[in-house]
């Protein structure tokens, strides 16, 4: 630090190339900042995709699996989740999903927990030290049985 300070003081600003040196430093810092902004946005875009897909899959699966007789069909839920994951996959950020059905102890309300994992590629793998990154987001939906179990159609 002392060396840098001494060197900085020795620059002949009126005759030397101090401003050029300074501008080049700003330029390099600017480029580093740009790389960081790009990678930050890359990860956050993957996060936005994972979150919106998780919400989509959770909502649609919950509605699809809930029968008109207020019974929850586990098999239909898993089928719909697989179908929507396949449909909503993207080339740049491929997704995979995990569905967990959490039945309520009373049997009235069921919770669905959808976890979506989006995979993306770093723009500058040399700087980050990794080729790919994974973003995991969750969405949880509770199916409320408004009939309170009064309706039962065998």
């Amino acid at each position: 630090m002392k060396l840098i300070k001494n060197r900085f003081r020795r620059i002949r600003w009126d005759n030397g190339n101090g401003s050029m040196l300074l501008c080049c430093s700003i330029l390099v810092m600017g480029l580093i900042m740009m790389f960081l902004v790009m990678e930050y946005n890359n990860v956050y875009t993957a996060s936005a995709i994972a979150q919106t897909r998780a919400d989509t899959i959770a909502d649609s699966t919950a509605v699809y699996a809930m029968g008109y007789d207020y019974t929850f069909n586990n098999r239909a839920a898993y089928e719909q989740a697989i179908l929507l994951t396949a449909y909503n996959g993207r080339e740049d950020y491929p997704i995979s999903s995990t569905l967990r059905v959490l039945p309520d102890s009373s049997g009235a309300n069921t919770k669905l927990e959808v976890t979506v994992l989006a995979r993306g590629n770093f723009f500058f793998p040399g700087l980050t030290g990794a080729e790919e990154f994974d973003v995991q987001r969750e969405s949880c939906v509770e199916i409320v049985n408004t009939s309170g179990g009064a309706i039962y159609i065998p």
Partner: protein
């Protein structure tokens, strides 16, 4: 030309050095702002798309769904993004039970609707305008009719 020859290149010229470096610095800063702007626009596009699809799937029919998606996408994009100059949203049913009389997929639970949102973004760079597009497939959440 005479003035250029008189410059002592080995000792440097502050003004000239600064003049050379300044445009490059400006380009880099513009690129930083552009990258940030596009990144924000991409994220907002995803959330606007989801909001629009969510609003669409609970409507009575496809026309109402189109209107609801249009309104919701507009409201989300207007409030959330810098530089969005225009957008277009398209809806179509891609799977479901087929209605023979109308020749269309029935707008009911189980049918899948594809929502495509295209957003024009005017970035800070005057020479570049970007178009962002994203699509989402969601299930219609209306009860099936006999």
């Amino acid at each position: 030309m005479k003035r250029l020859r008189r410059i002592r290149w080995n000792s440097g010229n502050e003004l000239l050095g600064f003049a050379i470096a300044l445009p490059m610095i400006l380009v880099v800063f513009c690129a930083i702002i552009m990258a940030a702007q596009l990144g924000l626009a991409r994220q907002t596009t995803e959330y606007a798309l989801y909001s629009a699809a969510r609003a669409a799937v609970v409507q009575e029919n496809l026309n109402d769904a189109r209107n609801a998606a249009q309104t919701m996408a507009g409201a989300t994009l207007d409030s959330g993004t810098i530089g969005v100059s225009g957008y277009n949203i398209e809806l179509e049913t891609v799977a479901g039970s087929f209605d023979v009389s109308s020749g269309l997929v029935r707008w009911e639970k189980g049918a899948l609707v594809k929502v495509v949102l295209t957003v024009d973004v005017d970035t800070i760079a005057p020479f570049q305008s970007s178009v962002l597009s994203s699509e989402l497939i969601m299930m219609v959440e209306r009860p099936a009719t006999p």
